[in-house]
């Protein structure tokens, strides 16, 4: 109950801030020096937030489709031998810091949105991949045996039984990736991707603590609300699919 109240408050705060940033000006005024602007004024905060959200959603959609497909392939008969290789590749994506990926990607694909998408895509693979594998492996053996015994083909068993049963864990992986990516996406602004990182960087350059705080707070609020939205979506989708 209290949780719901807090979340609604957070949502209201975010929406109000994005729609009428100037109404928060008195709050941020004490953080500025020498009469600098208390609210970011070199672009619309709303547009920057939406653009960051769009970047994250594109990257995670790509990570999800690749990671889930890969997770399915390595749990099929005949695909197990590719598990160590896939795991290594996916782990590299997680181990390389996104900043390093940006640095490598810029010379290859240029400045702007593309290096950020690549970095987020690689960074988001691991949780989805590992959760897909756990989900598929944890299907009760008796249930899979029954699916085969009833005369389902391998594909029918996968789509009608195994994936639905693995879905809670797969969605959990996607949720993790989303939340991590929302935060990480801010770094993309260093190479020219539109996002709230721009606000933070502007604050750092002009020694304006108010800007830094705004960028950080908005990113954080977005991550928290995204987490809740995904959780609500998961609960809705899985209302009935309980595994005992």
């Amino acid at each position: 109950m209290i949780g719901t109240m807090l979340r609604l408050t957070a949502l209201a705060l975010l929406v109000t801030f994005l729609l009428t940033p100037q109404s928060f000006a008195p709050l941020f005024q004490p953080l500025t020096q020498y009469g600098a602007a208390p609210i970011y004024d070199q672009g619309s905060l709303l547009m920057l937030s939406l653009s960051q959200l769009g970047t994250v959603c594109c990257a995670v959609a790509a990570s999800s489709s690749i990671a889930v497909t890969l997770g399915i392939l390595v749990t099929r008969r005949g695909g197990e031998q590719f598990l160590p290789l896939s795991r290594t590749l996916v782990n590299i994506g997680q181990t390389l810091p996104p900043v390093a990926v940006l640095a490598i990607a810029v010379p290859l694909v240029g400045f702007g949105l593309r290096p950020t998408l690549i970095a987020l895509f690689l960074y988001g693979l691991l949780p989805i991949f590992e959760n897909t594998i756990s989900g598929l492996r944890n299907c009760p053996p008796a249930v899979i045996e029954a699916a085969r015994g009833m005369g389902m083909s391998a594909n029918q068993s996968l789509f009608a039984v195994e994936l639905p049963l693995a879905m809670p864990l797969i969605l959990e992986g996607i949720r993790l990736s989303l939340v991590i990516s929302v935060g990480t996406a801010a770094i993309g602004s260093t190479v020219g991707a539109k996002g709230l990182g721009e606000v933070i960087i502007a604050g750092l350059l002009s020694n304006n603590t108010a800007f830094i705080l705004q960028g950080g707070l908005l990113t954080g609020l977005m991550a928290i609300l995204m987490y809740d939205a995904m959780l609500a979506l998961e609960r809705r989708l899985l209302r009935n699919a309980r595994i005992d």
Partner: protein, 311 residues
């Protein structure tokens, strides 16, 4: 009719099923018993090709099962397993409808069949159709599992320890139900168990397996009276074999003409239970009555004892 012809399954150097041949009559219950590791489950699973034989053939009504894709074969053969394997994300009705839907039945026909089966298994369709497996008791789950296996009206039903997870009282009820179902749908049932009592209660014929070999395959009375192997007599039990023999015959079958002033005994109970009743009541004979309460002759303790010896 199922003809199992010289069936062998090897895993590496280990031979799990070793040259088994047997003929399973249509419209009967055949029980395969053995200790764990005897190869009984593997033998069963080779009938619907969940396990592919290393060599040998299985013919159902004369047709070699290896000739059609395994998943299509399995849709024609019912399959029920221990712990029932119900799909946890699907309702009871959806679970039962699995095979008819795979076969592409009309929705109305699927619906009608589901309703019919729920009624047969004493599950009120209005109450149970929309429930999920985790909302059912163990006994109810087991019934849904068997209903699902029977949904597409298969001529053959394979059951792998289907009652293993049930407590004794529910298990006895489930066994009674299975006998009713078999009579009603005239299904050919092959059932695997390690429980000798279950084998004797259900099986028209019992196959005893040990270390991959089929030691004996015959009617339960023959297994008791003329065991082909020391292992068979050990498995069927030496100490209580006379009583087991009595449990295979009903009081009605053993009744003699005449009437008795002794206690009334239902024609459907086994001679073992009838003897127990007469001993308890300290009577020499009992009056046999059928389900309607009509007299069906008498039964003496001496007549019962005469049947407790090998012929």
């Amino acid at each position: 009719m199922i003809l199992i012809d010289n069936l062998t399954r090897q895993y590496g150097a280990a031979t799990v099923v070793d040259r088994v041949s047997m003929q399973i009559e249509r419209n009967s219950i055949t029980v395969i018993v053995g200790t764990s590791g005897s190869g009984k489950s593997t033998l069963l699973r080779m009938i619907n090709r969940l396990v592919e034989p290393t060599s040998g053939r299985v013919l159902i009504d004369g047709a070699d099962t290896a000739r059609e894709p395994a998943h299509l074969l399995r849709r024609r053969i019912g399959y029920a397993i221990q712990g029932n394997g119900l799909f946890p994300h699907r309702t009871v009705a959806e679970n039962i409808a699995t095979v008819p839907r795979l076969l592409g039945w009309e929705p109305a026909r699927v619906q009608a069949r589901v309703q019919q089966l729920l009624a047969v298994f004493q599950l009120d369709p209005a109450e149970f159709s929309g429930k999920f497996p985790h909302q059912l008791s163990g006994g109810q789950q087991q019934r849904v599992g068997v209903a699902r296996a029977l949904a597409a009206e298969p001529a053959v039903l394979l059951m792998d320890e289907p009652f293993g997870a049930l407590d004794p009282i529910i298990r006895a009820k489930a066994q009674e139900d299975l006998l009713d179902i078999q009579r009603r749908f005239a299904t050919t049932i092959v059932l695997v168990t390690h429980d000798m009592d279950e084998a004797f209660r259900l099986g028209n014929r019992v196959a005893v397996m040990s270390r991959g070999r089929l030691l004996q395959y015959d009617r339960p009375t023959i297994l008791l009276m003329r065991p082909a192997d020391p292992f068979v007599s050990q498995l069927t039990g030496l100490a209580d074999r006379a009583l087991r023999l009595l449990s295979l015959t009903s009081a009605g079958e053993a009744a003699e003409p005449g009437s008795s002033t002794g206690p009334a005994i239902s024609a459907s109970v086994s001679l073992r239970d009838a003897l127990s009743e007469l001993l308890w009541r300290n009577a020499d004979s009992g009056q046999i009555i059928d389900a309607d309460g009509a007299p069906r002759g008498q039964l003496t303790v001496a007549a019962i004892l005469a049947r407790a010896r090998p012929a």
